[in-house]
């Protein structure tokens, strides 16, 4: 048995998105570094404001998730944040987020790191915490202000955003979690050394040996072990480093555009790294109907992939409107040029 399945069934009782207001067009980045008319991997990406970071964005997503869950923050027993852009090298983001949302002191607070799948990693750990009976509620967040070296191909897509999920017992859930499968190998596709500001990537390793191999194996094993097939799911969401990769893997597995379109946000907001699958899920929850089945597969460089499926319950209907929809954050946008972008991201040395 390769699936991870808790003793007690676990579900998602609240979810909340966050995307910063600012956007830069990929064509504007191309203009600065390559002249005009270069083909770009996405249309535009979200940019964090100068006073935003993974902690502030996590606080807003967590407040949204708690509003939908309808539980006071002091009932949480864990506050876990998955990110590759924790503001501190040493001092857990979870401590500040927990304090800001009003969590109790009797909690576990930890920061997860697994490149772009740190958010689903926190969900998987949370399923264990709740499913073992150790905790009634866990807050799992995937959030990033992704870094891309100026002029590097990653700069087109590295963006900011994410979502928070409150896990709890299935009788309160707006979506029940069926099971999880996690697939991990040692793959040198992308990394950032401790004191480096920007990540490195080994070019062609990003595609076949990393993204496609890991999501492919994780997804195939999950489908085999659960005896399900692509057409059993109403929606599917994949990690989305650009617009092309998730659509390619979807087609390889026989998923249709109707299944993946709702969760594919990268063309409009870029690659939110640890936030990507989480935000895609949040966008799906915003429109799904009771009984719908959802399949999610994350990918984190290094590398690994978590696949899990969920079934929507009728509780979604009364909770959806209790916090801003994902689309509200996507629609709230102000476009900035490269100069303002460089200022926001602290690329201009003033002293």
């Amino acid at each position: 048995m390769k699936l991870l399945r808790p003793e007690k069934p676990v579900g998602i009782i609240g979810y909340g998105a966050y995307i910063p207001r600012y956007r830069i067009k990929a064509s504007e980045i191309a203009r600065v570094w390559h002249g005009s008319a270069e083909a770009t991997p996405i249309k535009e990406k979200s940019v964090p404001g100068p006073d935003e970071d993974t902690i502030t964005m996590s606080i807003e997503a967590a407040r949204n998730a708690l509003a939908r869950a309808g539980i006071p923050a002091n009932q949480l027993r864990a506050v876990w944040i998955g990110s590759e852009s924790h503001p501190y090298a040493v001092k857990p983001s979870g401590t500040i987020v927990a304090e800001a949302i009003g969590a109790d002191v009797s909690i576990s607070a930890a920061d997860f790191e697994f490149a772009c799948k740190a958010g689903t990693e926190a969900i998987v750990a949370g399923i264990g915490f709740v499913g073992s009976g150790m905790a009634p509620y866990v807050l799992a967040i995937g959030m990033d202000t992704a870094q891309g070296k100026p002029g590097d191909v990653l700069e087109y897509t590295a963006s900011a955003g994410g979502a928070a999920f409150v896990l709890g017992a299935t009788d309160e859930a707006l979506a029940t979690i069926d099971s999880v499968y996690s697939y991990v190998t040692d793959t040198p596709d992308f990394w950032r050394r401790q004191t480096e500001r920007y990540p490195e990537h080994s070019q062609r390793f990003t595609g076949e040996p990393a993204y496609f191999k890991h999501i492919g194996n994780s997804l195939q094993t999950y489908l085999d072990e659960t005896g399900t097939k692509a057409s059993d799911y109403n929606y599917v969401v994949f990690h989305q480093p650009n617009a092309k990769f998730p659509q390619k893997i979807a087609k390889e597995f026989g998923f249709t555009k109707e299944q993946y379109a709702a969760g594919l946000l990268s063309p409009q907001i870029g690659n939110t790294y640890s936030g990507a699958v989480m935000l895609g899920l949040s966008a799906i929850f915003d429109i799904a109907k009771p009984g719908d089945r959802i399949l999610a597969a994350s990918f984190g460089s290094g590398a690994g992939s978590d696949t899990f499926s969920m079934t929507i319950t009728d509780k979604i209907l009364s909770r959806r409107e209790k916090a801003p929809l994902t689309q509200t954050y996507i629609d709230r946008k102000t476009e900035i040029d490269y100069a303002m972008y460089a200022r926001f991201l602290n690329e201009i040395a003033l002293r």
Binding site: I96, G102, K333
Partner: protein, 131 residues
């Protein structure tokens, strides 16, 4: 660095937690343990909704130490739904023009570094146009 002061103020700064007077029900911010309305002791914690409107505002072009990197930025007197008026930065304005009476909501943001970039990051309330 002023670690003790910032540590002491974190609850009110992160989440707009003030006090409610048990005698006259006035809502108090910042918390001061004595009710400014009736003068009696008031120590009951109260979570403000974070909703309010711009009472007045100004734009900072010449900022105090720690805030220079963000000029120009706007500071407002925000009248909270529950009554008190707080001074705070406005954020996420985008292209929106500020006006007196503009509905705003509280968000928790980075205020500044404690000292330079080696110091702790100080977080606290700001207000933005209602989403």
């Amino acid at each position: 660095m002023e670690t003790p002061r910032h540590w002491r103020l974190k609850k009110q700064r992160y989440a707009l937690i003030g006090e409610e007077c048990p005698h006259c029900s006035a809502k108090i911010f910042p918390p001061r343990d004595v009710c400014p309305e009736c003068g009696l002791e008031a120590k009951t914690a109260y979570q403000f909704s974070g909703k309010g409107e711009v009472f007045s505002y100004t734009t900072m072009n010449d900022a105090p130490a720690g805030f220079q990197d963000h000029t120009p930025y706007s500071i407002a007197l925000v009248k909270l739904e529950e009554g008190p008026i707080v001074t705070a930065q406005l954020t996420d304005l985008g292209d929106e023009k500020i006006r007196i009476g503009m509905p705003v909501e509280m968000v928790t943001r980075k205020l500044r570094n404690d000292g330079d970039e080696r110091g702790a990051i100080l977080y606290g309330y700001k207000f933005r146009p209602v989403l």
